[in-house]
């Protein structure tokens, strides 16, 4: 793998971004209203990279909330033409480890599948991820509890970190060495400051223990105050459920996939009107278990990356990690009861 770190002086950031944008579509974090989101870089604009979580996950860059998959002419009987995948090179810069982990999970959903999603694959193939090490953890961050760390680089092509006099870059794959070929970057002996991160706590019970709670009253109690809106699912970097719909307007028609949420009553409703997850409790259980148990079974990794976006966004200040803690208590309770009897 590549050599060491390269330093970009703070004053040269704009010029460096311009040079990246010259060869590819460049996406960087941008402040929109009260939150950070990703936006396409425009030459010459001031850009800052948040040192911790970007409130809006980069999920939509790989799996847009509305995604045409085929086009047709509504006036013809049958004229379905698949949408051509995008192919121009793209760089997404500033994704943090939890967000990149989300992409790794999406890879398992969309690519490690008997029927890989070619549109998603194209988005992945055309994208170089320049990830960023976090230099702090926000109160809602808990990646260290989820087998991740603010220093994690898996899934990134290039990583960069804050340093005293600029930004330190390092290529993680051969092919992306060239991105760092810019004369603005100078080889250096400096390394990003090694930080002590909190030790990972095992807040959430393991998949098997959780499955034992499937029929527990816990879910009914826990869902007392859940609104069953979809805010947490849309904020989550690994929630990828979608619906398929046909839309028509004049001579244009599109078949699209659009984000859907397991928290919606309509999501699991069958055509007959029957709904296997009618109760709030059943829906809350589905989401919680999917994050902490089903995802292990289905894709071999937890779909909770510890980003804490669900906590940030929840209208009733519910916290999924805390739900996990309570589940843990319940598991212990059950165990001790079993021991007594």
């Amino acid at each position: 793998m590549s050599a060491g770190w390269k330093l970009l002086k703070r004053g040269d950031l704009g010029a460096f971004l311009d040079s990246l944008a010259a060869g590819a579509e460049l996406w960087v974090p941008r402040r929109k209203g009260t939150r950070w989101d990703f936006d396409q870089y425009e030459k010459g604009t001031d850009t800052t990279f948040p040192t911790s979580i970007i409130e809006v996950s980069a999920k939509a860059l790989f799996f847009p909330r509305r995604r045409p998959i085929a086009r047709f002419n509504p006036k013809a009987k049958w004229s379905v033409e698949p949408v051509e995948p995008a192919s121009e090179p793209r760089i997404v810069m500033g994704m943090h480890p939890c967000d990149v982990a989300g992409v790794r999970y999406m890879d398992r959903v969309f690519l490690a599948n008997d029927h890989p999603d070619r549109l998603y694959e194209a988005e992945r193939n055309r994208t170089t991820i320049i990830g960023m090490r976090c230099s702090e953890m926000k109160p809602t961050c808990h990646c260290t509890d989820r087998n991740l760390s603010p220093d994690e680089t898996e899934g990134m092509d290039v990583v960069f970190a804050e340093a005293e006099d600029g930004l330190l870059f390092r290529a993680l794959t051969e092919k992306d060495e060239r991105l760092l070929g810019s004369p603005l970057l100078a080889a250096t002996d400096a390394k990003p400051e090694a930080k002590e991160w909190p030790k990972g706590r095992h807040l959430v019970p393991g998949p098997d223990e959780l499955m034992d709670l499937y029929d527990d009253d816990f879910w009914l109690e826990a869902s007392d105050i859940c609104l069953t809106c979809g805010a947490c699912t849309f904020a989550c970097p690994t929630c990828t459920c979608y619906l398929v719909a046909d839309e028509k307007f004049g001579d244009e028609g599109e078949r699209v996939t659009a984000w859907d949420s397991c928290q919606f009553l309509s999501y699991s409703r069958e055509t007959s009107g029957h709904n296997p997850r009618r109760s709030n409790a059943a829906r809350l259980r589905n989401r919680t278990l999917d994050k902490f148990a089903y995802s292990f079974h289905k894709h071999g990794m937890s779909s909770c990356t510890g980003c804490g976006r669900c906590v940030l966004i929840c209208p009733i200040q519910r916290s999924f990690p805390q739900l996990g803690t309570k589940l843990k208590e319940r598991v212990e309770e059950k165990k001790s009861k079993a021991r007594v009897s």
């Binding site: 045409p68 086009r71 839309e247 307007f249 004049g250 244009e252 028609g253 599109e254």
Partner: protein, 147 residues
């Protein structure tokens, strides 16, 4: 619709109560009163049946104007349908105006079965008024699907 086309014939969607206004439109036709050709009529059982969602949808689908006409107050076939309609339409107008649909794009009025001439006049004046929007982007209208 292209701008010059629109200047000729604004597209109007008219919801007409079957007891009064639809009969009024019929009378306008049989009496050979002329009114603009691009009025597409939807017959409803009562003006009270017009759910504002239909009006919203009409604008989304690209109509230039929406006309709702029912029996005059006191004449409703069902007794009170048009009193309900009056309140619903007031709210619909308020919402549409709030988000920027121009007030001249909606016309809510009463037309009796005998008022064939009034129907023709109402349509003509409404369509004339809509010509001011020719070539201007349509508020609320659905964006083309493909970018």
């Amino acid at each position: 619709m292209s701008a010059p086309e629109m200047a000729r014939d604004p597209k109007i969607l008219a919801f007409l109560c079957r007891w009064c206004s639809y009969a009024g439109a019929d009378l306008a036709g049989t009496s050979r009163f002329s009114y603009p050709p691009n009025v597409r009529i939807v017959q409803v059982p009562c003006s009270g049946r017009v759910d504002p969602v239909m009006i919203f949808k009409a604008f989304v689908e690209g109509y230039d104007g929406v006309l709702v006409a029912g029996c005059h107050p006191g004449d409703c076939h069902y007794g009170t349908g048009n009193y309900h309609a009056r309140r619903k339409l007031a709210v619909a107008r308020r919402l549409l105006e709030t988000v920027g649909v121009h007030p001249d794009r909606m016309l809510f009025t009463w037309v009796s079965a005998a008022e064939g001439r009034k129907f023709a006049e109402v349509c003509t004046t409404f369509a004339e008024g809509l010509k001011q929007f020719a070539g201007r982007p349509k508020t609320l209208a659905r964006e083309a699907l493909a970018k």
